[in-house]
């Protein structure tokens, strides 16, 4: 219990620091959003319009401290203001419209990478020196060494354009209406294949290697030798004794990774035109859309902290030693 309270305290402090940083960072950036819009229009916006638009968007010029307090107020009321680059859509609407897809893509990819990666790691450790152990880890690490966008674009080109096996873009076929029908779910699944596969390919090597190394260290522990000596089956020892302890570090990493799923997968969204918060954040940053930027940052920070906190609690249940330390 004390452990949980200490962690909670830490997370509150971390939240405050993150929120303050999220507030300060955009204000260090030079330029203003309307002038940037002007540069994008390349002469189609008239100079007279710019002046009026500054008033229209209600750009904030209160003193910084007031803005800071107002920012905290908006966090508690949930009113994150109106986006500038998508004026006049409210920030919460913009985020809400895409967060579902972000989580779908990120969580699916993460779950597959974690589950398969860890299973492969266990298998590789089990058959030390065997075919699986010698070939697969280096191979997967090699695949994971390629820059993600390079792999993604290559895969898109090969499987989407040349072979035509998978759709090239978006979360579902244009014109389809979202529903829970098997057709729509199948459509979404088909559109998920390439984005998820590329993310899994790039990250699975890391999970596998980590699990493998941890397993190997764990299997040399005394209690495993004892279990062997007692005559338990290899399968049982593998899964019920060694693997359970070896998954502890994986749980921590998984927790961190889950939080960041909300941040979206920027490069995936760019290459596969998949709707998501990652690219939304990038375009908010380049358009100097302070309200939207702050809204997305807040969402990401909140999700990461909550995920970590939950993982910490789960970890305490899994590993009693932590309570004592």
């Amino acid at each position: 219990m004390q452990f949980v309270l200490r962690r909670l305290g830490f997370y509150l402090v971390a939240f405050w620091v993150s929120v303050t940083l999220n507030f300060l960072l955009p204000r260090f950036m030079p330029g203003d959003p309307i002038s940037r819009m002007m540069s994008q229009s390349q002469g189609r916006m008239t100079p007279e319009q710019v002046v009026q638009m500054q008033a229209l968007f209600g750009l904030d010029d209160r003193p910084i401290l007031q803005q800071y307090i107002g920012y905290w107020q908006s966090i508690f009321t949930g009113e994150m203001g109106v986006s500038i680059s998508r004026f006049p859509s409210p920030v919460s609407e913009v985020i809400a419209s895409q967060i579902g897809w972000t989580i779908l893509l990120g969580a699916t990819a993460l779950l597959i990478a974690v589950v398969i990666g860890n299973l492969l790691g266990i298998l590789a450790a089990w058959r030390r020196g065997g075919a699986l152990d010698s070939i697969l880890p280096p191979f997967l690490v090699f695949i994971g060494s390629f820059p993600y966008f390079w792999l993604a674009m290559g895969a898109l080109y090969l499987f989407g354009v040349i072979l035509g096996w998978f759709p090239l873009r978006h979360a579902f076929s244009a014109g389809a209406t979202p529903s829970f029908s098997p057709e729509f779910i199948g459509d979404v699944a088909m559109h998920l294949v390439m984005p998820v596969t590329t993310i899994v390919l790039v990250s699975i090597g890391g999970w596998m290697l980590a699990m493998r190394n941890t397993m190997i260290t764990t299997t040399s522990e005394d209690y495993v030798v004892m279990a062997e000596a007692k005559g338990l089956t290899a399968n049982r020892i593998m899964l019920r004794y060694a693997a359970r302890n070896a998954t502890l570090p994986a749980v921590t990493n998984f927790g961190m990774a889950i939080g960041f799923v909300v941040g979206g997968a920027l490069l995936t969204e760019v290459v596969f035109a998949y709707p998501g918060l990652g690219f939304q954040l990038l375009s908010a940053v380049t358009a100097l859309d302070y309200p939207l930027m702050q809204g997305i940052f807040l969402t990401i920070t909140g999700a990461v902290l909550v995920a970590n906190f939950i993982v910490d609690i789960v970890y305490v249940r899994l590993d009693p030693r932590v309570r004592v330390s």
């Binding site: 993460l110 450790a125 260290t217």
Partner: protein, 323 residues
């Protein structure tokens, strides 16, 4: 950390091992760095990695000799397939791809290693200080480390890169700021576990000065994990630099692997089928990252004898103890 960044997972996973087994993970005798390097050279994987890496570094240094002149001069000859004159072909702007790749290695490797060294140095300092100077400082530094870990890396990178003046310095600064926290956590836990060992306790009792203990007792025993951290950050830096530049947030006037890919994409190389403008830089990044990963593999095996692919009997086969 994102799902597309496995290197951080490896580092973080490696961190949690020594916490539970301080004695097994670090040899009790004073492991001098020379010993580490020699055993590294004997390890097959690490040796292969070192060879590949040395090859790239050599090519990078010799780029002005092999491909003299400015590789980014725009000519009118357009994109040409690989031929005897242009071994890797030319880009749609008429630039020689081989020259661009060779010159690009200079900037990419430079940024990678500078960021690696800088971030590791910061992480080491933070970790050692944290482990050695007591609770208050430890809590404070841990808080800072954890906040940096929890800040979403890519958006932070994007913001900093978009608005600081473009240039290699900015990229290096940005990557160091986002890359040091992972290593700090690992190094701190390792330093803590070593601090709890007998020989350090002995050193404290005999009155050795704190700084001397930090740098002459604890640090040498962390050599392997420092090396793992360093190489991990270098991998991260090279990949992140490429990603930033591909998004157009780096300095487009510098020739590097990332900007080569940026221009290839913006000049429509892949769309038009000019694959030779797109493949070499990506493959180069992959090979360098892979070489570094191999070295990391080797360091892991050397420092943790259980991981060596020696003649240990595989678990689960061979002798069944009893049925």
């Amino acid at each position: 950390m994102s799902a597309t960044d496995p290197s951080e997972v490896v580092i973080l996973a490696a961190a949690d091992m020594p916490e539970k087994e301080p004695r097994a993970a670090s040899p009790r005798r004073r492991a001098r760095p020379e010993g580490l390097v020699r055993s590294l050279l004997r390890n097959r994987k690490a040796f292969a990695g070192l060879i590949i890496l040395a090859g790239f570094i050599l090519l990078a240094l010799l780029a002005p000799v092999i491909a003299p002149g400015d590789p980014s001069i725009i000519t009118g000859q357009g994109a040409q397939a690989p031929s005897a004159e242009h071994l890797f072909g030319t880009t749609p702007k008429g630039q020689d791809v081989l020259a661009l790749t060779l010159w690009g290695s200079r900037s990419s490797l430079l940024v990678g290693f500078v960021v690696g060294l800088a971030a590791t140095a910061v992480a080491l300092l933070a970790g050692l200080t944290s482990a050695f100077f007591g609770r208050a400082i430890d809590n404070g530094l841990s808080l800072i480390t954890n906040v940096f870990l929890l800040l979403p890396g890519l958006p932070l990178l994007v913001i900093l890169a978009a608005f600081l003046p473009p240039g290699l310095g900015t990229v290096m600064l940005v990557l160091t700021i986002t890359g040091w926290a992972g290593g700090a956590r690992v190094l701190r836990s390792q330093a803590l576990s070593i601090r709890g060992t007998d020989f350090v306790a002995a050193a404290i009792v005999t009155g050795e000065k704190s700084l001397r203990i930090m740098f002459r007792e604890i640090l040498p025993n962390m050599a392997s994990i420092v090396m793992i951290t360093l190489l991990g950050v270098v991998i991260f830096a090279i990949g992140a630099q490429a990603g930033l530049e591909f998004l157009g947030l780096g300095d487009p006037s510098v020739v590097s692997w990332g900007t080569n890919l940026y221009w290839a994409s913006n000049d429509g190389a892949l769309m038009s089928g000019f694959w030779w403008a797109f493949v070499p830089s990506g493959a180069a990044i992959a090979f360098v990252a892979f070489a570094l990963a191999l070295i990391n593999y080797g360091v892991d095996e050397v420092s943790n004898p259980r991981l060596r692919s020696a003649r240990r009997r595989p678990f689960g086969t061979g002798t069944e103890v009893a049925r």
